[in-house]
């Protein structure tokens, strides 16, 4: 694919589209990538990054991370920081799956101990953690109780016995965004999501048993600080978000912003999917308060899934979750907008950071991360395809260049339809089993869509984030068992 001729190389991993690239750009767009990854990006990535650079109030640059690919509105991997006083908030800069994120959980088990019971373990996970189209959770929660979930996030789970106190500390923002207002949420959103707590969903959402092999450890000291201390240690990683509730919140506000954007606020954009409202406007503040509800639903969802996982492991190994060392490494959100303090033009300033398919990456010594990670930087969890493995990384000081943000996954390179044409789900399942990965799914077609060849090379993506100084690789985790919707 040919790159836009205006694209200029700023450094080995930073590429810039100037404001002259497209009408209406307020700041340049910067793509963080190696030459190899850049060559694989679709033309849509550059167009969408340039469209983001047109949003009122955007500061410094519109960024796209190394796993960037063509999305709707923002590219996936898109990052934009807005001036809260003059800038906008855009649901298209967060995604429909608000607070989609990753959670990583330790065990003290080794691969040798888990292998003999792998099928039993994965089968029980598949039976106990609902997956797939329209799935509902085991938590019986009334519509009025659900409002408390929206206000409290993981704190609600702690009150109900679905969390250990330390889980909250190991979750971004303590598992709860303050200022969530259920009154800003439609009845429809509540109707759609109140019985989905503790469900994975489908698509690229999964729960995976992984191994930290000694040869895959990049930084032994940080690995130890993150709890990876035993050769061939087994960990569990999962990926999901705020389910139908979050999707409805995003949809509701997309429609509401569309109605007022041009008429009331005079904002014209290249793509309606970027519909936005001034952050300080009544509409902007209402969306922010509703989005926080969805963020909290996302945290509660992953927390209840962790509770379920602990039960499953305990049942299979006849030991308590505490005895199995099932502590959280961390939980990161990769579809959010947050008010954070960053240095802009030499001055510390409060900014509204949109991250859509991008992970916060706070470096060593920064406030806002657990005390035990102050020296290492925050854990960053980057999920790969279910075949190739995932990474645990650490936030770096160099991420200041991107409002402390790094990549979130490996990023698709092939459409779902194309992937499905190239491999049948059942065949893929057999091949993976031969390679020692046991998968359970509701959907053969959906499985084929997630084949490893449909994604960018996770090794290249994480190496690029390291080269760019955004996050450093700590350990690569390889899958041995997986459930997906």
């Amino acid at each position: 694919m040919s790159l836009p001729p205006q694209l200029r190389r700023v450094s080995p991993t930073v590429w810039e589209l100037p404001v002259s690239y497209k009408d209406g750009m307020l700041v340049p767009a910067r793509i963080i990538a190696t030459e190899g990854l850049l060559a694989g990006m679709e033309a849509g990535v550059f167009e969408q990054a340039a469209n983001v650079a047109c949003l009122p109030g955007i500061l410094k640059y519109a960024f796209c991370m190394p796993d960037g690919h063509w999305g709707y509105g923002f590219p996936i991997g898109g990052v934009a920081a807005m001036d809260p006083a003059s800038g906008v908030i855009s649901p298209g800069g967060i995604g429909f799956d608000i607070n989609c994120g990753m959670r990583l959980v330790l065990t003290t088990l080794t691969e040798e101990e888990v292998r003999p019971r792998l099928h039993q373990l994965v089968d029980l996970m598949f039976a106990r953690i609902p997956t797939g189209v329209g799935c509902t959770g085991f938590v019986r929660c009334s519509r009025s109780e659900f409002r408390h979930v929206l206000e409290k996030g993981s704190r609600w789970c702690l009150e109900k016995g679905y969390a250990w106190p330390e889980d909250l500390e190991m979750t971004e923002e303590g598992g709860c965004f303050g200022g969530a207002d259920p009154d800003a949420v439609s009845d429809k959103a509540i109707e759609r999501g109140f019985d989905q707590i503790g469900t994975l969903g489908s698509g690229n959402h999964y729960c995976e048993i992984q191994v930290a092999r000694p040869e895959n450890i990049f930084d032994a000291a940080t690995a130890r600080a993150f709890g990876i201390t035993i050769p061939n240690q087994v960990v569990v990683m999962f990926h999901c978000g705020s389910r139908g509730f979050g999707h409805q919140v995003a949809t509701d506000y997309l429609q509401s912003f569309l109605r007022v954007m041009a008429t009331k606020y005079g904002i014209k954009l290249h793509d309606r999917e970027l519909a936005c409202a001034p952050f300080r406007s009544p509409e902007g503040q209402a969306y922010f308060a509703a989005m926080k509800c969805a963020v909290n639903m996302g945290f509660a969802n992953r927390q209840v899934i962790l509770h379920r996982l602990r039960e499953v492991f305990s049942q299979v190994f006849h030991r308590s979750p505490e005895d199995l060392g099932m502590r959280m490494v961390y939980d990161v959100a990769h579809n959010t907008a947050k008010l954070e303090h960053h240095t802009v033009d030499g001055r510390m300033k409060e900014v509204l950071v949109h991250r859509k398919g991008a992970t916060r990456s706070f470096g060593p010594g920064m406030a806002g991360i657990p005390e035990c990670y102050r020296e290492t930087g925050q854990p960053v969890i980057i999920g790969g395809s279910m075949e190739t493995g995932s990474y645990l990384l650490a936030g770096e000081a160099g991420a200041a260049a991107t409002f402390f943000t790094t990549a979130h996954g490996s990023g698709r390179t092939m459409s779902r339809h194309q992937a499905k044409k190239m491999v049948k789900g059942q065949k893929l399942l057999g091949e993976m089993e031969q390679r020692g990965i046991y998968v359970r799914t509701d959907s053969w077609g959906g499985l084929a869509e997630e084949a490893g060849f449909a994604y960018k090379d996770i090794d290249q993506v994480t190496a690029a984030t390291e080269e760019a100084g955004l996050s450093r690789r700590v350990v690569k985790l390889v899958p041995i068992g997986n459930i997906k919707g």
């Binding site: 679709e42 849509g44 690919h69 063509w70 999305g71 709707y72 509105g73 996936i76 995604g95 429909f96 799956d97 797939g132 189209v133 329209g134 509902t136 429809k188 109707e191 759609r192 999501g193 989905q196 969903g201 489908s202 698509g203 690229n204 389910r243 139908g244 999707h247 409805q248 995003a250 949809t251 997309l254 429609q255 569309l258 793509d271 309606r272 999917e273 519909a275 698709r412 390179t413 092939m414 459409s415 779902r416 339809h417 194309q418 509701d442 959907s443 053969w444 077609g445 959906g446 869509e449 919707g485």
Partner: protein, 143 residues
Amino acid sequence: MPYKFLDDIATADVAFEAWGDTREELFAAGADALLHTMVHDPEAVERREEMTVTVEDDALDLLLFSFLQELVFLKDARRLLLHPERVRIAENDGRYRLESVLRGERIDRQRHPLVVDVKAATLHRLRVACKSEIWRAVVVLDV
């Protein structure tokens, strides 16, 4: 099958083009494509329950967006997978009103070969237009 899935519009999501001789046929084709995105064999979904969906908008493309969005909502809130049986679109003072009767049933994992959950219809590249007397639409779904 008056729709086809498009490969070159959205890598991570699902895009389709639907068509019909009338607006009503086009909207029904869009609902069919949505069902086919979620279920590999749409005919496995039996027509056991009936639902009526009504949406309004000033623009035809946004009317399609709202219609598909309503079906996505019913998939989660009522667990219903639905075939469009009848679509009526009325125009009054520049405002469109769609009324559709749909038939289907609740999701049954044993009988329905499910593919992928649709999170939302998006506005990305959304287009509804009539050319050479054929109504066509392009829709990107977030999955």
